[in-house]
Symmetry: D2
Subunit: 378 residues, 4 copies
């Protein structure tokens, strides 16, 4: 693991997600650019001190030097955005498979270069767009693909949070707020990069469509903030459908309420993270149906990503763990000389990473434009 | 009553709403431009046949000719949009107070002229924007006015319906679909006029703010349709806040799910018509509260508009009836030489009607523009 | 109207419910045993002072003396329980049809005698068990009757309120609490009579089954109170199914949350008053369905009792009004020499009244018994 | 681990729960009484074949023979009920701490004997009553203890499931249904043992009160079944409060909807597993509050049992893992010579196990009795 030192949020989540299914063992880490923090984190996690490193370069170099059956197999990168690309590239080029937190890189240019590295090295890369890991999101995708809604006409995706309603980055102890609102570490976007990309990924994953044009209203609401903390985007999709994407971090009192609604000629679907085990299917002429995680009537894709019987709520960590698990199953299958099943291969990767960075740059460009529509360019 | 012949939807609703509190008695009508329909409707309603007229002109003329204490006091106009202005003007000019369905007129020009007539005649006009009649919408307005949320930053209002997902106007028996999608009877807008104006009115009523600029994506989704059946609008409000308004009639499987969310510096609120007796108040640092119709902790404004104890659900007809009741209380107070209380005067009127028509014309103009922002002009 | 003077709760509800559909006009009343209160109420309601009476005897006598086409047709009795029987009997015996609030009488003996009077006079009597007036309760009954759930196995009905959590009857201004906790005016039961009977009626109405045995835990929770304010009852039904009925008025913080769940061999249903426009249908092997008021897929029985399109919430007053409306339609049909349709005849009557009083007496007897099971005796 | 061979449900859950926080490593197992199943399970789990045993006796004997720092520290017993006592006793007596699935034993007599063994050996035992592991259940307990509701008056706990609506045990492949409905493996109770004990444990945990008397209606609904699949129980608690406990496995269409409601003089609370991250707090005179997992305003006890920020749903596995985690933290503290904190010690243990078995035997005895009330005897 690279990053995830004490006090970080997402590093701990990666560790929980990796541990759940027993496919991963954490054996080495460069948890912080400050050696003492890295060391303390490693000790708290019970790691062999020899394998707790002071930098990602050191980690990759020394792990590579170990015998093949004793070195790390997968490098997980959980640093702030500006520190994704370099370690990912180095890890891939030295023969490691990579899991990287989203957004994939600091810029679209980096993302494209990383895609080329993946291509050139033949290694695998997973991107932790957690929300598409939920079983009922899988079911939503499957139903759309099966034509249950008919051709898609409208898409609404929204992601309201309230945690940046105040100038939280003014508090030096608030490391999350600090780097996420800092252009030097986060990139050209704040809310749009942090959560807008999740909403965008969810939309494209479920509909199987691509955004082609957008019209963005991008705002910095809290005085003194350097990056956007709020935005709304009108969308045109590849089949002519239209949509709206909302992402805000100043919706005071909201937690983390990602929601997707999709409507086609024959019906609609509604999923929200706060009630993640439920998917509503709506129809023109008959009652709305409540689909539930791991119910026997669900698709193989959805059930593959569930762990306990219906009525035993699964949550965020399980969704996160699905990315880790599917990535492990894919690697194991390939190591065994088998072709991974579609269910195994169903995790976000470098293509989603490139599109996510293109979304960030397009949406910020649109926000600055006086023209209504801006092309989504990759 | 003018309009509301057999088969019409909103006429029957007006009659139920007027009857509920006993302030109105239906004594005369010109229910249809087809005399036989008017006559049959009058008969079914048990009216004196002498007071069932073949045209609105006839109704106004003959009722005016009756002794003052035997003539109608209020004229309710429930015709399609293109038939609002003329009877409203005639009624006002002949000394009748008027209740008119929304949108107030066929065009902004008509709306402004009607405002002038109201001004000149000194009569009163009520506009049936039903949704602001709900007790918990009143509470929302009061809380915002009292500063419970702090200065407003974000507003989201959405109004998804699914009933025009098919080419319903192709069915001659579907009179609702017929006139609402017909530019000659509905005006320049379809969905934006029919339900977008409700969403707009709700937003301005609760926040006390005004829309100043907008950026609209207006669509005709169903092939063959003449007017918009779908749209999304980015908003700028008078205090610099931003917002999103969504109105669609092609969200297959949706009923009538108007919802408003407002966020300020200190918290947010969430109200939806499908659960109209609940208002959620959200806070930065403490638990969300569930406010309920007619609870003792509500404002006088909200409680004035409720009829039964908490836990006895009130609904759409009661909200509609609140407009009728407050209008009647206002007229009664004035007839008694008293000044109506703020609670009595709390019904939508000609100013809201003008702004609603300005919304329709601005939003359609924006939809046709390549520029991002269009001024909201009255 | 007999009872319903100023300050009373249910009298005002009856007036709203009667007014809604235009089938009734309030023309006479004996609103209170105190003549000045009766007079003031009549004046506030705009009644002819000649037809505002000082006692129910006077009302019945003098109305009967009027010409047939000028006298009241239906007498509505909205007094406390101990004043139901005598005016109902007198009205029936003098040729008036009667609507009476629940529970029907003060005792089972009175109820049986009233049933005999109905039988003997051939007049009609309606009992305002409001909750079975909801459209989705009608749908529930229809689905059970159609076998959608298979043979019924389990029934849960609960009715928690919190308004008697304190010694409210100690406040002389709280007239509702006063008479409802007073054995001299309410009868042998408090909560079980006031709301337990609603729960019981709902259960028998929807399932079409009858309670045959019960085992009750009846409590007086608030110190100083004279009648039960809380209870739970185990049930045996006529087909061998079992159930639980809960009614309490000391569930602090609860409003009025009547809920019914029924399970059969093939599925279950769930309805609650707080979300009265929704009925959940659950199945062994497929997704739960959300049925909604006035949707096209509902039964004729349910749609007959709805007034506005799906998505326009109907509420308590509309449910109440359905009893009034169906009673009026029945009387109108009979006056026209027609046989009322099953939909018209679908209102609670004297049989439900007798069973309700039997429930009250059986449940109180069981509460006092050391034996587990007590027969439900009529 | 003892039990949990391939095809078992709860064994896999224990493994996921143990893995999540990294406190446990699965190193040995006697997964089945059939050696080949045990071996195959061990292999699938990647265990050292030497430490995959054919019987629990063998496991305990051989692990004990290993050097202290190489042997298992905690024995997890996930077999059917009839196979809890013997391995638990043997493990404790040989110096191992024990985690055992609920109900703790086959009979109350066994439970008491096991309590004596725990006492005598000084080892620790945890009992996996999962549902009290949820953060919001912890908060509920804390709020009651802090007096937020005032003295408790009413308790309702219900646990409806539908999975035994058919004669599932007739299908030889349905191992879950097989042993849970078999008196030789499950004990004197079916539903009351399997889920009634969870409901009972939840009630006593949250309220801090004890059941003193009960009146049970116990049913075998599905023809041919040997043990109860349904029941309802009236309760008297130690402070004089009353309650109702419902547990059924024939509520067709229900998943696993454990719900607890508690009412005191000042307010009430409502928690349900299907929405486990929410706790509703209700008050006599102010709005209901929605408390949410890991919000900053929660108690230390609740936050100790949460892992991710508010709005990132936690679920069943996390609740289960809390028992494992708190047990590990307790053992670690003790090994370090420290006194475990109250938060660490907050897991169900042998006392809860004894009371659970007493509940089972009392409730079955009451079900057979003609008397209304049966003493709860331990």
């Amino acid at each position: 693991m690279i990053g995830g030192g004490q006090g970080a949020f997402i590093g701990a989540v990666h560790r929980l997600a990796a541990a759940l299914d027993g496919h991963y063992e954490l054996v080495a880490g460069a948890f912080s650019s400050r050696p003492e923090t890295s060391r303390a984190t490693g000790e708290a996690l019970g790691l062999n001190p020899e394998r707790v490193y002071g930098s990602y370069q050191e980690l990759i170099e020394q792990e590579k030097a170990r015998p093949a059956d004793e070195r790390v197999q997968v490098v997980s990168i959980v640093t702030p955005n500006y520190l994704h690309f370099a370690p990912a590239k180095l890890a891939l080029e030295n023969g490691f498979d990579v899991i990287v937190d989203k957004p994939m890189t600091f810029s679209l240019a980096e993302a494209k270069e990383l895609a080329a590295v993946v291509q050139a090295t033949g290694r695998r890369l997973a991107l932790t767009h957690t929300y598409t890991g939920y079983p009922m999101v899988k079911e939503a995708r499957q139903r759309v693909a099966d034509g249950a809604l008919g051709p898609i006409r409208k898409v609404y995706v929204e992601y309201p949070q309230g945690w940046l309603s105040t100038f939280a980055e003014g508090d030096a102890d608030n490391k999350q707020a600090g780097w996420r609102t800092d252009p030097a570490r986060s990139g050209v976007a704040g809310a749009m990069g942090d959560i807008g990309t999740h909403a965008f990924n969810l939309l494209e994953y479920v509909t199987g469509l691509q955004v082609e044009k957008l019209c963005a209203d991008i705002n910095v609401v809290v005085p003194g903030r350097q990056l956007d903390d709020d935005g709304a985007v009108l969308l045109r999709l590849s089949n002519g459908a239209s949509g709206v994407l909302v992402a805000t971090q100043v919706a005071a009192g909201e937690e983390n309420n990602l929601r997707l609604r999709v409507y086609g000629e024959k019906g609609g679907l509604d999923w929200q993270q706060a009630d993640n085990n439920t998917l509503l299917l709506k129809y023109l002429d008959r009652p709305t149906e409540i689909l539930r995680t791991n119910a026997p009537y669900l698709s193989a894709l959805a059930r593959h990503n569930a762990r306990v019987p219906p009525g035993h709520p699964e949550g965020y960590l399980e969704a996160f763990a699905n990315i880790y698990r599917n990535f492990a199953l894919t690697l194991q299958a390939e190591q065994a000389g088998e072709i991974p099943s579609p269910e195994m291969l169903d995790f976000p990767g470098v293509e989603e990473g490139v599109r996510g960075m293109a979304f960030i740059e397009s949406v910020i460009a649109s926000g600055r434009s006086e023209q209504k529509w801006t092309d989504f360019t990759v």
